[in-house]
């Protein structure tokens, strides 16, 4: 475990109170064990990056936390709240299928507000603010199936950001975005996180991105998924391009890569 001196003094730092507590989680798919008595905490107000090989169970994990697929055994607790009381933001890995093809892009983005019964005018206002914030220039009057892959993913991200979710799940959210857009959305995510402190779980195959955005990087091993390492990266935000060349960043990144490669080659 990498301990950085940047933590606030006085034992456990304040944001360390667990927002999500996972205990004894087990999950099988047709006799293939994905999780076996898995324990894990997501501290409130942190951004956790999840990094691991294909098929190790990253999507499965956040799907189980969000209550989208049932667990076989074990429990997932939300700091006293019930699952149904929690508002999630979620960018699905298969963003294409998660958008509603009968709604125009703009209505897809505003849909979570509609669910929350926000009045029409306010909905429009908030989506316009978001669009302005992100500097989105694409025509959002179109239907999802009339958009390119990257545009669809962008819509999907906007749909997750328009509400102030209590927990935000991002499952490879930038995989289809172009170079410029990826960098830009990273910054946006950083800004949103800084402003709201929303507990966030980010799945990414880009290690630089994973470390750059994270408070902690969860490294998973292949089946059954185990915590290979849970690495802290405590650099102050906002992090910038300069961060990428700081020795601490490079060290953490290299360490993560080491662990990952060791795990992958083991399997």
């Amino acid at each position: 475990m990498l301990e950085t001196p940047a933590g606030p003094p006085g034992g456990t730092p304040a944001p360390e109170r667990a927002h999500v507590t996972i205990r004894g989680l087990s999950k099988r798919f047709n006799n293939v064990v994905i999780y076996d008595k898995f324990d894990f905490d997501i501290p409130r107000g942190t951004l956790i990056s999840v990094f691991g090989p294909n098929g190790c169970g990253k999507s499965t994990l956040i799907n189980m936390i969000a209550g989208l697929i049932p667990v076989d055994e074990g429990e997932i607790l939300f700091d006293g709240k019930k699952l149904s009381e929690i508002k999630f933001g979620y960018v699905f890995q298969n963003y294409r299928e998660a958008l509603f093809p009968w709604l125009r892009a703009i209505d897809n983005i505003e849909y979570p507000l509609k669910v929350m019964q926000v009045p029409n005018v306010e909905r429009r206002a908030r989506s316009e603010k978001l669009i302005a914030n992100l500097g989105v220039k694409i025509d959002l009057k179109r239907y999802p199936y009339e958009m390119s892959g990257g545009q669809q993913q962008l819509v999907s991200i906007m749909r997750a950001l328009i509400v102030e979710p209590e927990i935000l799940f991002l499952d490879e959210p930038f995989s289809a975005l172009d170079y410029e857009m990826t960098l830009f959305m990273r910054e946006q995510l950083q800004r949103v996180f800084q402003e709201t402190g929303t507990t966030t779980v980010l799945v990414s195959h880009d290690l630089e991105e994973a470390v750059y955005l994270a408070d902690r990087v969860l490294l998973l091993s292949r089946h059954p998924a185990l915590v290979a390492d849970y690495v802290r990266y405590d650099d102050a935000r906002p992090r910038t391009d300069a961060t990428l060349s700081e020795p601490e960043f490079i060290r953490v990144k290299a360490h993560c890569l080491d662990v990952f490669q060791r795990e992958v080659r083991k399997g």
Binding site: N63, A66, G67, A98, F100, P101, V115
Partner: protein, 251 residues
């Protein structure tokens, strides 16, 4: 070529008439039993222009329209609710398949007693039959809906009801329209049969029955043709509505 697309159905009509003409011309069937298309269309023309057929036609349109409205009003919400839980659907599946497989005409006496001797009986039998078909299709549309979208709505905090109306309803729309189109054809068939066999003083079924009794074959086929064309018309109506609203199917 696209410009001519609205004319495509004409091919079907013409094809039908050509086969019909050949059957008549080749004496496959006694000409008394199967009159020529010309004779039939003459009967149709006369009947529709001031003849009784026009009135009967309207009566049947009206009855069918009412019954499909009733059927849809019941079947759409019920189908979505039933379809949203596979176990719920399986528990009532017996009743649905049961009644879909019993001839409506065998049910006439029962409905006669429940709804009286007037139009109500015909309309309710037809509505009942169509309702089952629509219900079946809607429920299936909901059950086969893509799971990811349901999950997306769920995770955004949509209530069960919201998921039903905002996602399942729309996911099942293509299937629902198939159900509606099946349903309206069935309703029309039942209305015509009811007009024939329970008895009625108007309607296309009455006209078919009367022409059959009087052995006026051109009149009979004119009435049958009117019924078939009406069925196509209703189907076309639903098709146009579907085209207008369900733009995303297959995408």
């Amino acid at each position: 070529m696209k410009r001519f697309d609205p004319l495509l159905p004409i091919i079907g009509v013409v094809g039908l008439i050509v086969i019909w003409s050949f059957a008549v011309w080749g004496q496959v069937v006694d000409p008394v039993l199967l009159p020529s298309p010309t004779k039939t269309f003459w009967a149709l023309w006369k009947g529709m222009n001031g003849g009784a057929l026009g009135f009967d036609f309207l009566k049947t349109v009206q009855r069918t329209a009412i019954s499909i409205l009733i059927a849809a009003a019941i079947a759409l919400p019920l189908g979505i609710v039933l379809g949203s839980s596979e176990r719920l659907y399986r528990s009532v599946e017996f009743v649905i398949d049961f009644f879909r497989s019993t001839p409506a005409s065998a049910m006439f006496p029962l409905f006669l007693v429940l709804f009286g001797v007037g139009d109500k009986t015909k309309i309710s039998v037809a509505a009942f039959g169509a309702m089952l078909v629509i219900l079946f299709n809607v429920a299936y549309g909901v059950m086969n809906a893509r799971k990811t979208r349901l999950l997306a709505a769920k995770v955004m905090g949509a209530s069960r009801l919201r998921v039903l109306t905002d996602v399942m309803l729309l996911e099942s729309l293509p299937q629902t329209f198939i159900g509606l189109r099946n349903g309206v054809s069935l309703a029309l068939v039942i209305i015509v049969v009811a007009e024939m066999f329970i008895g009625s003083t108007d309607g296309l079924g009455h006209r078919v029955f009367e022409a059959q009794q009087l052995f006026e074959m051109p009149d009979m086929y004119a009435a049958i043709f009117a019924a078939g064309a009406l069925g196509y018309g209703f189907n076309l109506l639903f098709l146009l509505v579907e085209r207008r609203f369900v733009h995303w199917s297959g995408k």
